[in-house]
Amino acid sequence: MNSYYIGDQTRALSMRIANTTIKQRIDALGKEMVSGKKNDLAKALDGKLYLVNSLDNRVKEISSYQSNLQNLSLTLSGMQASIQSIDKITGHLAPALLAAAGNGSSENISTLISEGASQLDSVINLLNSKINDRYIFSGTRADNPPLVSADEMISLITLDLPELASADEILFAVDSWFSEGTTTSNFFQNGYQGSLSNEVTVPIGGSNVTIKASAKDEGFQSVLKGLITLNIASDRSHSLPAHDIEKIASQVGSILSGSVTQVSETRSYLAILEYRVENQKNTLSAESDALTLALSNIATTDPYEAAASILESITAMQNIYMLTSRISKLSLSNYLS
């Protein structure tokens, strides 16, 4: 008769191997349930990590571009708000000065000159606006206000001007302070403190946005030129003859009229940038949502599947316990008396 025996240790070994395997599985599934993520993502992807890595990287990249876009949005809207206020001032003053000069109403002209003179500080303050602790009209020298104060500018211009200067002398002095060549003028040397050449460039994902607008733009220079002229004229209004005052009003009216067009161009340019920024925000937001969803589909575990697998493993574990218990009791010696 052939007999077959199984050593005692082999039973224990089989039980132990089964037990360890199931415990490891329960442990892995438990981690998946708690974290909601696949326990071994590299294994789930068969070691091909490029897809998940590129998705993860792009989501983080988009987040940084969104932050840039947010800052850019604030800067652009800050610039737009300042320019709008400047536009309002010049839009009111320019036609009023031209009309008053045409009518020869000296009282009206004086009032407008005083009003214009008082707006110089406001315009300089608007161009010296700060967003996020950054001077938005300074180009890449954002830690410096782009313009010196109105008093400083006027004192620099009037330094060599005679006490009883005529309208022509005032107009010439102001004009030459601003216009002696592009970057060698007194304005660039002493009045403007922002960046001369570099423009603010911000990466927004796939492309950069460059803000080609600062306080040195010709439109703003024209506004400053007009208001400074009014300021000087206002100081000397009692000593200037009426026709000189009329001339100044007429000239400044023309300068400010010209500036309106130039400043409008800057506003339009900034509006285009704002549109690009908003567009890119929407594009990136949609892309981020799609990528996050794709990433989540790959990396996360199905809770129903994980729960079902845990239950299955627990049942298998209970079977092992039952078998271990019964087998350990199953011995011939227990049946001998």
């Binding site: 050593g7 068969d46 890595n53 960046s195």
Partner: protein, 486 residues
């Protein structure tokens, strides 16, 4: 047959039963002893001369499935090899980081990319420049750690070789000693089973180091050969395997250059194909880690460090740099030298020029390493160039050989994917080898002590004892009857 012959037969039966009971009790006592092979009594009828008979105890046999045991030992060797290989690959993957870890090399590189984006968006903000500095520092430290980790693994492999060799030598001496003892014991007609158990256990213990083949020799002796063909023991004197461990392994140390030890066999160095004599177990795996896998991983880490260094060390990126000058990444504050590529990952550092903690200035990240002062605080030109250099696809140079072009991110991802694939491959092999070893182990154990069988045998022995005792009693009564005749 005379009554005295009957008594003699019964006595031989009682003796055999007593010996059988001793074997059963020994088996039951060793039910849980690892490496214990179940014994069974070997009996044969005594010669029937002049009407005599009875039973002769031939000896005690150990029940060992030789074929399964041989396979089990080969499985142990395969397991020893895959254990080390898997542990190494797992360690490499952990060092570089896996896909969902915040401090993986890929995540750190992504962080640098996003920090550069943010800094380019707000170049005047120190917060973002600090973030660029920290991200770059994290990458440099990570590469330092990877390099250190690879060398630790190589050191560990070197130590493992030394331990394996020492264990192999001492076990072989012990086996040789047991060979002699078994021969002597058997020649005296005594039971050498426990010595055989001990010898088997010793051989099992060294089987994970190198795959062994056991060949029986006369008088209970055995010879041991490696599967590759080296004679470890054939006779009384075992072979002597030599190895000198190195206290600390550095990236430049190689066996070829003589800085790391190879094996010697009976005093002769094993070179070239001779090293195949010890193939197949943990010894081979440890040599492979120390001399092949480890240096290969180091070369990859060095190529990675070189790649990131070269991206930023260019006047096209930072016009303030002089030709050959390092950028934000440096070789311990110096320029990288091609001839010192090995180990660069362990030396890569961030330039102190941009580190305020080391007396540098954050604004130099934005304005150039050699810039004298910071004026254009919102100029993002350099930061955007750095970001573009980061994304640029450029050839990866590894020890002078150019491979396909990669961006920093694709290089990082490929590096991680390769390590993950290697880990998964070795994990799968490890699981398979474990399963095979466990199956064979269970198979060997199935030949071990079965308490049911022993109790069953005990019951048979009890019956045989009663029968023999009854014969003895009956013969005694018969003699008494004769003696009572007057």
């Amino acid at each position: 047959m005379s009554i005295s012959a009957a008594i003699s037969n019964a006595v031989s039966g009682l003796g055999a039963v007593a010996r059988g009971t001793a074997v059963v009790s020994s088996n039951l006592a060793n039910t849980l002893t690892p490496g214990y092979a179940a014994r069974e009594l070997s009996l044969s009828p005594r010669g029937y001369n002049n009407g005599a008979g009875g039973v002769h105890v031939n000896g005690v046999n150990r029940i060992v499935p030789q074929m399964v045991l041989a396979d089990y030992r080969l499985a142990l060797a395969a397991q020893g090899k895959s254990d080390l290989t898997f542990a190494f690959n797992k360690s490499m993957e952990t060092l570089v980081g896996t896909v969902d870890e915040a401090d993986s090399l890929f995540s750190l590189v992504t962080n640098l990319g996003t920090a550069l984006n943010l800094a380019a968006g707000s170049p005047d903000q120190d917060l973002y420049l600090q973030s660029v500095l920290e991200s770059a520092q994290h990458i440099a430290l990570k590469l330092n750690k990877i390099s250190e980790g690879i060398q630790s693994e190589r050191s560990r492999a070197d130590d493992s070789i030394a331990m394996d060799v020492s264990k192999l030598n001492s076990s072989l001496s012990e086996v040789a000693k047991l060979n002699r003892l078994i021969s002597t014991t058997q020649s005296k007609g005594q039971d050498a089973s426990s010595l055989l158990d001990r010898r088997q256990s010793l051989i099992d213990n060294i089987s994970s180091i190198v795959p062994l083949q056991e060949v029986n020799r006369p008088n209970g002796q055995i010879a041991l050969f490696t599967k590759g063909g080296a004679t470890l023991l054939d006779g009384n004197v075992p072979a002597v395997i030599g190895f000198t461990s190195s206290p600390h392994v550095t990236p430049n140390m190689t066996k070829e250059a003589g800085q790391l030890s190879g094996l010697t066999f009976n005093g002769q160095p094993l070179e070239g194909l001779q090293s195949k004599l010890f193939q197949g177990g943990s010894l081979e795996a440890a040599f492979h880690i120390r001399d092949v896998s480890g240096p290969n991983r180091q070369a990859q880490a060095d190529a990675y460090a070189r790649n990131i260094y070269e991206r930023f060390a260019s006047a096209n990126i930072d016009p303030s740099l002089n030709p050959g000058e390092p950028g934000i990444f440096t070789d311990r504050q110096n320029a990288f030298d091609d001839s010192r590529e090995i180990g660069f990952a362990g030396r890569i550092q961030i330039s102190t020029l941009v580190d305020p903690g080391a007396g540098g200035h954050l604004w130099k990240i934005r304005d150039g390493l050699n810039a004298q002062q910071s004026i254009e605080t919102s100029d993002s030109t350099l930061l955007i160039r750095m970001r573009e250099a980061f994304d640029e696809h450029r050839p990866v140079t590894m020890l002078g050989a150019d491979s396909k072009q990669r961006s920093m991110l694709s290089f990082s991802s490929d590096f991680m994917s390769e390590l993950a694939s290697e880990r998964l491959k070795s994990e799968s092999k490890h699981t398979l080898d474990s399963f095979y070893r466990d199956t064979l182990n269970a198979s060997i154990k199935s030949f071990g002590v079965d308490s049911d069988k022993e109790i069953e045998t005990l019951m048979q022995l009890e019956r045989a004892y009663s029968a023999n005792a009854l014969v003895l009693q009956t013969a005694n009564e018969m003699i008494d009857s004769i003696l009572r005749i007057k």
